[in-house]
Each structure stands twice: as C-alpha cells, then as structure tokens.
C-alpha cells in the first residue's frame, strides 16, 4: 500500500517516467515525500526505494547527503539565516542570534510550539539583501531585527500563507508540457532531418 497520498503517488510515477533510469527521480521524489510529511519519514524512504528500484539504506544515505532533506520532523516554517562571507560582513551572525531569541529556539532546533526550526545556512545567493533570510526556501529579505520580527509576527498569524507554504512544498508549478517520444523515434527523426538538409545543400550547389 502506498504511503504517499493518491495524488502525490501519481505525481511520483510521472516523475519516474521523466528519466531514462528511475533512480534519477530520487531527489524530486524525496522532495515529494517531504512535501507530504514535512520531513523524509521512514515510510517515505521505503516508498522512494520502491519507486526508484533501490533499497531503504541507499535512499536514506542519499537523502542524508542533502541539507534540504530532513530525516527528523522540523517546524512548519524552517527559517534559514545565512552567515557566510557576504552576510557575515553585514551582520549575519548577529541577526542569527536575534532570531534565536525571537523564535525561542537555538540554531538547529525547533521551537516548542513546533512552528519554527532555525538554521544557520551557507550562502543563499541573495547577497545584495544581506544578511539573507529564507523561510521554507522563500526569500523574505528581512535584513534587520525589526523587519525580521515583523515577518515572524505575520507568520504566527498565518498572514503569509499565500507566498510561504508550509515546509516541504517546493514547487507549486507542475510540469504541463513535455515530449514523450522514444529515443529511437527521435533518432529516426534526426536522420531524416540530416538527410533533408544534405539534399537542400546539394540543391543549393
């Protein structure tokens, strides 16, 4: 029986079909499993293993390589604050300290109410808005303690649900177009195109 909800399971199978080898769908599938459970659960691991033709140990080991995939439950909002070089020069460490007291949790842990997990991140590539802050991987550009606290207030009141979905939801846009031609069909098409070009070339001469 599938652990993924019917609709996610269907998306999972579509993802697997996109790649020449099922294993390639590993990261997209782990994101999906995380979208459902908020983290990569043991059941999610088992299902991804089944979908990719691998083993649970393999999936777990792979997931643990990547920072965005959480093997333990995390808060509804994962707040990431960058302290890498550009942000360091702009007060990233200080903002991180401030966030820790505002959110009521130390770096790397989750607040008691389960709402926030605070992370110290590496460079998030938004250095002109340093120190850079992300909530659930959405850039929020709150570079001062005041704007940060304002954002936290909004999050607590659920006023940012439109642009900051709960943790795990990464891609809200689904793939709608696509080409499902087989490799051999494409190869034939290429050959024909080449022949046609050669013919045109000959005519030109």
């Amino acid at each position: 029986m599938s652990h993924l909800r019917v609709e996610l399971r269907q998306r999972a199978e579509e993802l697997v079909a996109l790649y020449p080898r099922p294993r390639s769908a590993m990261l997209p599938l782990l994101h999906l499993a995380q979208e459902q459970d908020g983290y990569v659960s043991v059941e999610g691991i088992a299902e991804v293993a089944e979908l990719t033709g691998t083993t649970p140990a393999d999936v777990r080991g792979t997931a643990a390589f990547y920072d965005m995939l959480h093997l333990e439950p995390v808060g509804k909002y994962v707040v990431g604050i960058c302290t890498n070089i550009a942000c360091l020069l702009a007060g990233g460490l200080e903002l991180l300290d401030h966030a820790s007291s505002t959110l009521g949790c130390s770096v790397g842990s989750t607040s008691d109410n389960g709402l926030f997990t605070l992370e110290e991140t590496e460079c998030l590539a938004d250095c002109n808005f340093a120190p850079c802050v992300q909530v659930n991987h959405r850039f929020v550009r709150t570079t001062t303690p005041e704007t940060f606290d304002g954002l936290v207030g909004e999050l607590r009141e659920g006023r940012r649900d439109h642009d900051i979905p709960v943790h795990g939801t990464l891609l809200r846009v689904r793939r709608s177009g696509g080409l499902h031609a087989s490799k051999s069909e494409i190869a034939t098409e290429r050959e024909e195109a080449k022949a046609a070009r050669a013919k045109r070339e000959g005519e030109k001469k």
């Binding site: 691991i45 293993a49 393999d58 777990r60």
Partner: protein
Amino acid sequence: MTDVKSGVTISVNGRSLEAAPGELVIEAAERAGHYVPRFCYHPRMEPVGMCRMCLVEVDGPRGATLQPACYIKVHDGMTVVTDSEKVKKAQDGVLEFLLANHPLDCPVCDKGGECPLQDQTLTHGSGETRFVEEKRHFVKPIEIGELVLLDRERCIQCARCTRFSAEVSGDTEIAFSGRGDQIEVAPSPTTPFDSTFSGNTVQICPVGALTAKPYRFSARPWDLEQVESTCTTCAVGCRVAVQSSGNRLTRVLGVDSEPVNHGWLCDKGRFTLDSIDGNEASLDPLSAASRLREPLVRMNGVLTPTTWGEALARAATILQDAAQVPGGVGAIGGAALTNEGAFAWERFVRGVLGSDNLDAQYGDGLDGALIQALPKATIDEAANARVVVTLTGDLREELPVLLLRLRENFIKRENALVEFAFASSGLHSLARVSMPVRPGEAHLVAEALTRSDGTVLKGSNVTESELNETRRLLGESGEGVVFIVGRPNFAEDAGVMERAIRVLAEKFTAAKFLPAHRRANVVGALDMGLGPKLRPGRGYAANDEGRTTLQQLEALRTGEQKAVLLLGCLLGNVLDVDGASAALEAGGVVVVSGHGGKTLAYADVVLPAAVQHERHGTVTNIEGRVTAVTAKIVAPGSAWSDVNIAAELAEQCGQSLGLFSDVECAKVIEETVGYPALSVLNDVSDEGAVVGRDRERVERRPLDPMAFPGIRSTNMAGLGEFSGAVAEEEASPSPSPIGATLSEISAGRGVEVPAFDAYALALNVSRHLYDHGVAVQGSPALANLVARTTAYLNHFDLDRLGLVTGDVVDVTGPTVTLSLPVALSDETPRGTLNVVFASIDENGDDTSRSLVDPSSAITQVRLKTK
C-alpha cells in the same frame, strides 16, 4: 591473473617494466616490488580512489602530477614515481588527516595488532600528532545488524563495506549517510544489516570500525594460531583461514582463492564456530547443540558413558549379527565426512559387513550416478558462462558464495541468467528470463525447451515468449551454457528434477552442468562410493541392488533390515520424521557423530567423532574440486576421526581396513582409485585438483594484508609436519575413472505427477540458510536468525484469497493442519505455496515438513482463511 605478455612498457622509479594493458598502476608497481600504501583499494572490488593514500607522481601533459595509483591504468610509456619527496609528503599528509579524527583506542580495539591503519602509521607515519582539537564523537558501538557492530568514530570512510554491500552482495543494506567529516555508514532504520554476507564487511574493514559480535573482545591477534582449510558448512568449498587461541576456535576468515571464493564467505560459514565445540551448557545428548565427547551405550534403556573398547564391541556385535541376513544391515549418512572418512566407511560397509546398502543422502538430493554422469562445469566456468540456467533452490540460501560468483557474471560481463523460478531467489532481479515453474512441472518445461515448434505449456504459468527467449539463448546445442541443477523442492519427487536434467543433458550436448548439492561434502561422499551403485573414485556398478536411505528406512520398518549404521544424525534431515523414528525404533542403531540430536533416542551405541577443524583430510566441492581440510584444534574428550573409528570397528569384526590414519587413507585413495587425495593434502601452494581434469596450477595472488587483514599467511594448507613422512612417493593421480554414461543409468527416465487440484495449492518446501540444524542450534550468535515458518504466496494468490502479509491462515496437508502467517513472495509462482524446511514456528517447533505427503510426487495443500 594478468597476462603481461602482449603488454605495455611503463617506467616505475626509473626502472622500466612490462604491464598488462588496463592494469592498475598500484598492481603493476607492486609486482615490480614498489609497494604503494593504500586503504580504500581492494583487489576484489572496483577502485574508487577515495582515500588518496596511494598518490604517486604520474607524468602528464602538464608535468608530473599526483594521481591515485589504485585508480589510474597503465599506458605505454607512462612514467611513475612512487618514492619521491613529493609523494612521501602527500602520503604522510593523508595518513595524518586519517588519524586526525581517529580515536587512539588501539589497546581495546579488536583490530589492534592486525590493523592496516596501525601498520601503515608505524611504517609511514610521523609518530607524533599535531592535532590538538577535539575529535569527532559518536555514541559508542551501534548494532547495525544481528552480527555486526559499528564504531563510527573509528571509520576512515574507505567505502569498502558499502561497496561490498552494493557491488558484491548486491543487497545495499548499508550505505554512506551524511556529508563531509560527518559521513557515517548506516543501515536503513527499517531493515537492519542482516545480509547473508555481512561478516565480509568486518573482514575487509581496514580499521576496527566494523566488528563481529561473536568475535568481539574474544582474542588478541597475537594469541592466535592459524591454519588454512576449506569451509564445509555447505558444498561450495570456500577456502578459509581457521584461527584458534589455544584449543579454542576463535575466528574463520575467507582466503582469496581464485577459482572459488575470492576471499568471501557467508555468515553461516564464518560464524558457526560455536557449534563445533558444542554448547557447553547443553549436556543433553538429544540436543543438537551438544557435543559428543565419549562413547555411549544403551544400558537398561539409558545411554551411558563407556570405554571405546566396550562401545566398539557392542557396535560390532549389532552390525555383524544383522549382517548375517542378506541385506540385513546398511549405513545412512556421511555427507559431513572427509573423503578419507567416507572411503573408510565405504570399505567397512561393503568390505567388512558385505552390504551395498549405503547412502550419504537423505532422500532430499538427486541421484548420485546421474549427477556424476553429467558433463561438469567449474564454478569459474559458470561465473563466465554466456548463459546460466538455474534449476535449483535459492542459491543465496543454499550455496551463498556461489551466488556472489554468479552475480559478477551477470553484472560485470552482462551474461544471461535464465531461472526456473520455484520460489524466492537471490538472483531474481538479475534474470534475463524467469520462468515461474510450479511443483511437478520442471520436466515439462525442460521438454518444452527442447522442442523448437513453439510449444506452449497448457495450464502452466510459463509463457510462450519466455520459452522462446530461453530457446534462443540456449541455441541448438547449448554451447556456452551452464545448467546449475539442484533440488529446489523437498515436497516434490526427485524424479521430476532428474527427468528435467536428463532431458536437458540429452538435448544440449555441448552444455555443462554444475550440481547444486548443498550439504558439506556430499559430493566427496558420493565419489567415495557412499551411494547405491556408486564406487570409490566415481565408479559405477550397474548390478548393485543397494538400498537408498528411504528404502533402508522402509526395510527397517518391515524388519527386512535389522540394523543401521548412522554416519551423522538422521532425524533432522528427513521429511518423514515419524516414519524414520519408527524405523530406528524397529532396528539396531549404531550412531557415529560429533553432535547429539533427537536421533540418539533410538541409538544402541554412540561413537563420538571428530568434526570440521579437528581433522585432516580432503573434501570435494560441487565442481569436483578436491581441497585439503586441516585440523586446527584437538577434538574434545575422546572423540576420534572417522577413519580410526572405521578401522577399529573393522578390527573388532576381525578384519583390517588397511587404513591407520587420515593421511594413510588419503594415500590409499590416490593409489587405488586414482582420485586426488594425498597429493592435494601435501600441496601447500595451490587450489586443489578438479576430479576428471588435468591438474592445473592456479597461481595464487600473494596475500595482501591490506585487503585481507587478520590472515597471517596463506598456502598453509596441507600437512606441513606430515609431508616429509608420506610424501616421498607422492602419487600423481591420473584422471579418475568416470563411472557411468547417461544412457546406462536409470534416474530421470520417467515420473508420474498427479493432476493439479484447482482448489489446492501445490507445496514447495525450500531451504533457508539459517535453518534449525546443528550449525545454527549450536551457535548462539545465529540463533535469532532462524527462519520463522511462514506461508509464502504470490500477490495474485494473496489478492484472490483476500490476504495481506501477516494474516494467519490454516494450511492443511494430508495429515496435519498448521496455523501459519502468510507473506508476499512474488518469486513464488501462482498456485504455489512455499514454506521453509526446518524453520520454526512461534513455539520454536520445527513443523513445516509435516505438511509433505511422502507418498505422492507432489504435495497439494488447502488453505483456509481465518
């Protein structure tokens, strides 16, 4: 071995040398005497170049650069420097980095004294640490599986274990987790590291990160003594280093034998040591966990310790009295003996008792003469064959290391596997064609394969396209094909498989066969004549009317046979336990065995015998390779070797076998029947001899202590101290006489299979590595791994019956109804119900075999949901 002729020329440290194209620099350099230090490199796995210990300077377009010698392949004109200052600095740097986070707990570490990291630190390291920071810490050892513990802080991330798991055993039950210096080896949270092969990771770990629970803290390497021998837990014949501390066995390690095991072992072979000594807690001779130490005779109904003289006299009387009647006596068993033991007992039974009733099998094998008559493949040939067809039980469970060798063939060489799929199969995912064959059907499928008319098998699950694809792969004559043939189902008459084998052998005359006999030295026992119509040296006697095991038991019940000599315990091995018990009850019973068991309840005399690792001799594996087994410890109490017991018993009967010791016996075997024995025992430097083939000397790789830490040296097989005494007139065996041809023997000519009952399921009784046998019962380490009796069904059948894994059902055979949990097994064909032989139910009872109907060619059971 690499062929260096037709090679390339490279320069190493200014000296030019020949190397084979594609050879790794590390190997070429080592052959020329330039040893390059290493950690992650392992000669039996793909290189990964991760640890960077083997950096050497290699010239390139932009001058010499540091490159990993374990990963770079030689090319013509290449210049390599392994001893420059730059190389030394790089290697020292790597070693220092490896030690940075490595704990300094060598004195309490299992690997201390035989640790590649410790050794290389002593030879290459600076001796001082500049690392003053706090080391990485993890919670102390975690149990990652039933047999393996992991100390994460000792791990140096060489990926040997994870590569083994993914590449060699293929089950990927452990993998790297995390990133950077937080990398650790981890199983999944749901499936522990219980691979059949987990012990290999302990053996190849270059530090003490992985340790084996049974061995942990049990000995220090410098206390250990070692001999090289052959594992006789199953019939693959893996080469092993057997180590003991004093007279206590401590460890078995796999030796890298080119034609056989490549250094690997299965966990059962590695961890059954405890059963050799027997469980000291158990003094009950009726327990398989007990070790027999002294002769016993039944007095006033009770087995009572006695002297050898008394016991031998009683045994001689029982057997000789019975032998007065024609066919009045016989012997059953012997598959656990050495060839020498088997040869001695054959002489005793045929020569002294004058009986042809001999059988090393228990009705659960295939006809010995039929197997001997087939053109044979070696393991290497199977592991390189263009097409391999399996008609066997699950090799992972029955002959585990053979499975590893075959995997290599399908993965690295992409050769084809065709499966007759009877039930679970460790090779299933690699099969090109997997034909779901129900009980009683194999011979029909085989016959269909021999016809090219596109025959479809009516009523079978096997499809036309599967048959056609298999026909295509087999070709006209079976050129390049190896059939692996065994007995996948004990609830099916042997005639079905024998018929299938005959049909295939007669049609595909260019194909070869590898018998999947699974019991220890059963091939050797049959080759020594322990079977009806068989004679020592693979001889065949067409007129021999000797009884098989099942016939002997029947004759005991009817009183035609008066007594039986049991070479090993019987009841654990037969399907019909009640019938066999009645037979033993009816006749005189002399048991020669190393271990106790329920069988002894019927014994009149018990003679304690030496078992593996306590005796010298030779054994023959599935491919017919004869190798030496070597005693490491002295048998407990007053147990004797079988040759001595047989010889003394003959004396009691007033005759002489002319055999005075195991070594003497080996000499006689070679001289009288031309079967390799003494020459193998005496040879300390090769891989034995394959019966019926010219002796081929396989150069063994020199022992690489970095790849196989813990092994002292190899090529310590053979007699060592004895060789001077007997070897002078070293017999050189001519290929032994090959007994019968296929046309002379009767096995496989026909079989009657009743029609399938549409309301029943056909029963398949398969094997599991960890069954409730002597080895496992005597080894506490393995006790938790014994298979639980379960009814395995295909998902079609589960769906049809509305069942899911875990539901409990009533399974009714001809005489009993068992209440069993069901589980999904899609490798089990539709309409088939699979249970495991000698598995245990929730009460610890071994009842699965009672479902079998011994009177029918197949057993059909009914299933009632609760």
